[in-house]
Symmetry: C2
Subunit: 398 residues, 2 copies
Amino acid sequence: MTDFTKTKALFQIPEGMIYLNGNSLGPMPKSAPDRILDFMHNEWATDLIKGWNTKGWFMQTNTLGDRIGALVGAEEDSIVVGDTLSIKIFQAVAACLALRPDRKVILSDNGNFPTDLYMVEGLLKLKEAGYDLRTPNPDDVMEQITDEVACVMLTEVDYRTGRKHDMKAIIDKAHAHGALVVWDLAHSAGAIPVDLSGCDTDFAAGCTYKFLNGGPGAPAFIYVAPRLIADVEPALSGWYGHAAPFDFDLNYRPMPNKIDRMRIGTPSIASFAILEAAMDAWDGVDMQALRARSIELMTLFVGEVEARCPGLTLAGPRDMNARGSHVSFRFEHGYPCMQALIAKKVIGDFRAPDIMRFGITPLFLDEDDIRGAVDILSDILKNETWKEERFQTRSAVT
Amino acid sequence: MTDFTKTKALFQIPEGMIYLNGNSLGPMPKSAPDRILDFMHNEWATDLIKGWNTKGWFMQTNTLGDRIGALVGAEEDSIVVGDTLSIKIFQAVAACLALRPDRKVILSDNGNFPTDLYMVEGLLKLKEAGYDLRTPNPDDVMEQITDEVACVMLTEVDYRTGRKHDMKAIIDKAHAHGALVVWDLAHSAGAIPVDLSGCDTDFAAGCTYKFLNGGPGAPAFIYVAPRLIADVEPALSGWYGHAAPFDFDLNYRPMPNKIDRMRIGTPSIASFAILEAAMDAWDGVDMQALRARSIELMTLFVGEVEARCPGLTLAGPRDMNARGSHVSFRFEHGYPCMQALIAKKVIGDFRAPDIMRFGITPLFLDEDDIRGAVDILSDILKNETWKEERFQTRSAVT
C-alpha cells in the first residue's frame, strides 16, 4: 500500500505554499540536488568522455524509458527518453503517415494541446499536398474515425478541462478502420493509470516535467508498440538511432527492430540525472492507489469549491473517473483571481479565456492542502481581492 | 590580452590527466556545480512554475544564443539555443528547401558528420520524390556548386582530420549560383574565429558540449541570417516558436520576423544553467588570441609527434591555418594505441578506420600538457605497449 505521507516528504515545497500546479511543472524532489551534484563531480568531471561507457550515459535513454514504462503499462524496451514532446509527436505522426501511405487524414480534436497540432501542420507542409488535419470537438472524434484516417492523434487528458478520452474505445475503433493512434500522455503519465500494452496502443509520447517532476523542460519520451517498431522508418533519423552509431557510415540504417531508432541526437545527460532522482520518488507507488487518492482529493476540492466559491463553474466532467488529475473551473474573472491566489501562495494557473486550473497530485498534496487552498480562494472571492489593480495586468508568460 | 593560465584554472581536470578530448566533450567548468545547485535550490525549488517569468527561463534560449553569437560573429538576436544539433540541421536544411522550391539538389561532402547526412535523408523521405543529396569529396565541393543546388550543407571543420573549409569562398560561390548554405559549427564554435555575419552566412548550427564545455548532451544552437528570418517557414513548428505561445491558438503562426521561431518545444532549463556557467569561462576571451595559441600548440604537438613517434602520419592539412583546433594522425594500430594512451591518462579518441584524434583546446591546455602527452605516446610506441591484449577489444561506444 502506497503511503502518501511518505511521498510528500520527498518533495521540496516552499514554506507556506500550497502547490496546485504539479500538472504544469512538478516540484523539486529533495534528492535531485545531490543526484545532479553526483553527476557533475563523479561522472562528468572525473570520467569525462569515458562517462558514455563507464557511467552508462549512452543507454540512459532506455533505462529511464523503462522506468517510465512501468508507470504507463508499456512493455520493456518500448520507450526511449529524450528531446521535447513536440519532437516526439512529430516522430510518431510521421511514422503513422509512412505506415499508411494511401490515407490522407489525420484526425485530432480542438482540445488537443496546440503544439501537437502545430507540429503536424509543419509535417504536412513538408509532405506532398493533399493531407487533411481535422480537429472536431473532442466528443465528435469517435464518429469521425473512418477508413480515410491514417492517424488519430489525441491528448488523452485535456490540458484545460481535465476531460479524459476513452483510450481503449478509440484505439479499438481506429484499428477496426485500419487507422493508427498516437497518444499524447502529457497529462496522463504519473497522473492516472495508463495501460499502453493492454490497450493495444500504437504510439504514445509524453513529457516528464509535469506529474513526473523532472524539472523545467525535462526530457520527453516516446513509446512505439513492439509489434510495429521494425516497420517504423524514423523521419528524424539522427546518429543516436543508427544501427552502428560509431561506424560513422554515410547512410542511415535504423537500429534493427529496436526502440533505439527513435533516438535522434545526443541527449542532455544532466537532465537525465535529475530525471533519475525524480523517478526514484515513484518507486513503490501503486498507480491504482494513486488514482484512488487523486479522485478522493479531486472530489473534496470540487465539493469545497462548489460549496464556498460562488461564481466558479466546474469545467469538464463531473464524474471524476472521466477526468485526469487536474480540476478546472470557469470564472469570468479567472485571470485576476488566479493572480490573487498566487499572491497568497496558492499556486494554480490560468488558461484563456476563463479557466482556473488546479493540479491534484497525491504524491505531495493532502486534505489540509485542499481545504487550505479553498479557504484562501473563498476569502479572495468574498473580499473581491481580485479587483485590486496589481492583479489585472497580464504577464507575457502565464 | 587573454591570459590562458587563468582560463586553465577555471576547469576541473582530474589529477594527472592530460585531456586532449575537449573537441568531443569539454571538461567541467569549476563554477558549474554551484550554478546548477543555485538553479535547483533558488530557482526551481523556490519559484516553481513562476520561474519561467521570475528567473527568465523563457528567454534563456535567446540570452544564451547571444553569448554564443559573440564568439561566432553573429548579429544580436540571430541565434537561439535548444534541442540537438541533428534537429537544428534538419530545421536549417528544411528551411533552405522551402526557400528554393524549384531546386532539387542538396550538396554536402563525404567528410560531413554522418548525422547531418542522416537527418537530410530523413527529410528527403518526407518530401516529395526527386531530391538528390550529393556527397563528393570535400575538395570537390566548390566545383559542384551549380544553379541546380538548393542548399550546400557542410561541416566547417572535418570531425576526423581537422581540415577546414573556406567558409567565405563557398558562401560566395553558392550565392552567385542562387544557393543557400548551412554550416555545421560543431568543431568551430569555441575552436576557431568564425565570422558568420561577415561571411554573409545564411544558416548555421552547432553544439555546446565540445569546445564550449556545456556538458554531455548540452543544447545545440541555430543561426539564421536576420535578412532571411522573416521568410523562414519553420518545419518543426512547436509552440515555443509561436507568435503568441500562451494564446493557445489552434493554428501555428511563427514569431514574426524573429529568430524565436526556430525554437520548438520546451527546452531543458537545467542544461541552460550549466551552459551559462560554461559561457562565463569565455568572458574576455579574444578569439584571435585563442586561434594564435591553438596554432602554437598544434604546431608544437605535430612537431613533437613527427620527431618522436614513428608510424604516425598527420591526417589533414599541414598548414595549421587550414585546420580547426584538433589534430589527427593515421596509425594502423590506432585503436589499441589510443586505448593504451587512455590507460596512461592521456585522453584522445579514435575514429575508424585508423584515426587517432587529439583536441587542442587552449582554454585548458599548455605546452607541458602537449609535451607530456607526446612523452607517453612515444613511450607506448617504443615499448609496443599497445600490443597488450587488454587494449585490443573494442567497446560499444568509442
